[in-house]
């Protein structure tokens, strides 16, 4: 069994606790402030209208959600902002209703200065499980650096939480040493 130095263990525990809490805090702050979303939802991958897909989720054919077409920097309420492929997405937008979708007129249609959403979600299936497929995340090209950031954050969290737990067991005197692997 491994011998444990309590002072070293206390330092290890405190250090990784601070790192872990800082990482959690940073992720929660960037997420709740909308920074992460803005950074993540990067540009439009096709021509269409940038929308907040959550706001039209309850629409039906009988009671469509009517989004006014406006040119502005932020999606605030029932608004559809025209975007072209490669444009930076407006704030709060989380999906793009494509021109192709609007032309087909099955789920949404342009009427004058409005976009009418009639079928906001449809059931799809993957690996034998069904789920609601919406306009959300559609027509969006994400920031590739956001991908690298996600992986870096998860790896940093994994290391810090792993070493935090190791520091904790050392601190409470739970001796965990290498095990014998005899056949």
């Amino acid at each position: 069994m491994a011998e444990v130095n309590r002072g070293k263990a206390a330092f290890k525990f405190c250090f990784w606790l601070v790192v872990g809490v800082a990482l959690f805090g940073y992720i929660i702050y960037t997420y709740s402030s909308g920074r992460m979303i803005q950074w993540y939802y990067y540009t439009a991958s096709l021509d269409g209208y940038a929308v907040d897909a959550n706001l039209s989720m309850n629409a039906t054919k009988e009671k469509p959600a009517v989004l006014s077409i406006r040119k502005q920097d932020t999606v605030d309420g029932l608004v559809a902002i025209p975007v072209s492929k490669g444009d930076r997405l407006p704030k709060n937008a989380n999906g793009v209703i494509s021109q192709a979708e609007l032309k087909s007129g099955k789920r949404a249609v342009v009427e004058g200065q409005t976009v009418k959403v009639m079928i906001p979600w449809q059931i799809k299936e993957t690996k034998g499980f069904k789920f609601k497929d919406t306009f959300k995340h559609k027509g969006i090209k994400t920031n590739p650096w956001a991908g690298a950031w996600n992986v870096a954050m998860v790896l940093a969290l994994g290391v810090s939480l792993g070493l935090l737990a190791e520091g904790f067991t050392d601190l409470v005197g739970w001796k965990i040493g290498k095990i014998e692997h005899g056949h």
Binding site: F24, I27, I28, Y31, G34, M36, I37, Y40, Y41, A53, N54, N94, K124, E125, T126, K127, G128, F129, K130, F131, K132, D133, T134, K136, H137, I140, T142, P144, A146, G147, A148, N150, V151, M153, V154, L155, L157, G158, V159, L161, G162, L163, L164, A165, E166, T169, I176, G177, K178, I179, E180, H181, G182, H183
Partner: protein, 353 residues
């Protein structure tokens, strides 16, 4: 309920923590990522399928690392083995993804994927179960005869065959106490990588038996070493999913918070048992996952008209996590009792230390 802004769903966050905790226990103990359990659970909570896969893969990377840190302390990682396998694994994963795209273009990816899962997991279950039963019986006999039992005992002759392949370079894996051709390890990495990439999972449930029955590593080493592979393939998968926009970091955060505790329990629990106990849990997890996949396959083949098949598959998958956690906890409990000189059932005695 928590509003997951990126995924666009409202879901109870404590359930995500709970899933992270249970999969952390199982994953830390048998060395799997648990993708086949987490993805269905997230879909049940309302996450779209693509988001469920992305969140799952990203959380597996973080959870795998938490478990890896603890397994490193326990001496369950053979770094030579892990590093030799990486190139094969990465190549295999890429080939597996291309194979999946090929079947997707033919329009039969769903059926082929489920059929392969069922056939592979059932075969692995049968082999692991029969071999482990033989090892268990032998250990029970040795204990009765008063012989000293080691941490590991496996009765398969396959490792002997693979260890005698005289293809240079031959490498020595010190922690695993194995001398084997590097090409055997690379091949194991590649084949398990193809399956992982094709099935869209971390591949632990194939890699752990492969490391035990092909390379000849002990089960504990196979678990720890496989977790290193899971971290690497998980990071690659997480990067790909993140670039596609399929990851909600808040959901990942809640699951990792649960996994932090679960992974400790699962990893430390390995020090209370002998190799066959881990292989038993692995085989039970395989048969339960096979049943779930078989139900989903039947559901797909019947034109998705029999709704209860899909529902039963979900219930079975979620029930599996709880069952395996209880099984692992009971083994640790019996091990503690045995260490204290108290009574434990006869069938448990050779499995615990």
């Amino acid at each position: 309920m928590f509003d997951f802004a990126i995924a666009g769903v409202q879901a109870p966050f404590f359930l995500l923590v709970l899933v992270g905790l249970t999969v952390g226990i199982v994953g830390g103990f048998i060395g799997v990522g648990g993708g086949y359990m987490v993805t269905p659970a997230l879909i049940v909570f309302g996450f779209p399928g693509y988001m469920a896969s992305g969140i799952d893969m990203t959380h597996i990377c973080g959870k795998g690392l938490v478990s890896t840190v603890r397994h490193r302390q326990l001496g369950n990682i053979d770094w030579t083995l892990a590093l030799s396998m990486i190139a094969g694994t990465m190549l295999g994963v890429e080939l597996g993804i291309r194979l999946l795209v090929y079947f997707k273009n033919l329009g039969i990816s769903g059926v082929v994927l489920l059929m392969t899962s069922v056939a592979l997991m059932f075969t692995l279950f049968l082999y692991t179960q029969f071999e482990t039963r033989r090892a268990h019986k032998k250990m029970a006999e040795m204990e009765k005869a008063g012989e000293k039992l080691g941490r590991e005992l496996q009765t398969s002759n396959l490792p002997k065959f693979f260890q005698t392949i005289p293809l240079a370079p031959i490498i020595r894996c010190r922690a695993a106490r194995v001398i084997v051709s590097m090409w055997v390890i690379v091949l194991v990495g590649m084949v398990t990588g193809v399956l992982a990439g094709f099935l869209g999972v971390g591949g632990g449930f194939v890699r752990v038996p492969a490391l035990v029955y092909v390379v000849g590593a002990s089960t504990h080493i196979a678990v720890g070493t496989d977790l290193v592979e899971i971290v690497i393939s998980g990071a690659y998968g997480a990067l790909r999913h993140s670039i596609e926009g399929n990851v909600d970091m808040m959901a990942v955060l809640f699951m990792i918070a649960g996994a932090m505790f679960g992974a400790q329990v699962g990893s430390i629990a390995t020090s209370y048992v002998r190799g066959p106990a881990i292989r038993y849990i692995l085989s039970y997890s395989l048969i339960l996952a096979t049943l779930g996949a078989a139900l989903r396959l039947t559901y797909v083949l019947t034109g998705q008209s029999v709704e209860w098949l899909s529902l039963t598959a979900v219930v079975l998958t979620l029930g599996e996590m709880i069952f395996l956690c209880l099984f692992i906890s009971s083994l640790v409990w019996f091990a503690v009792r045995r260490r204290g000189g108290k009574w434990v059932p006869d069938w448990v005695a050779p499995l615990v230390i």
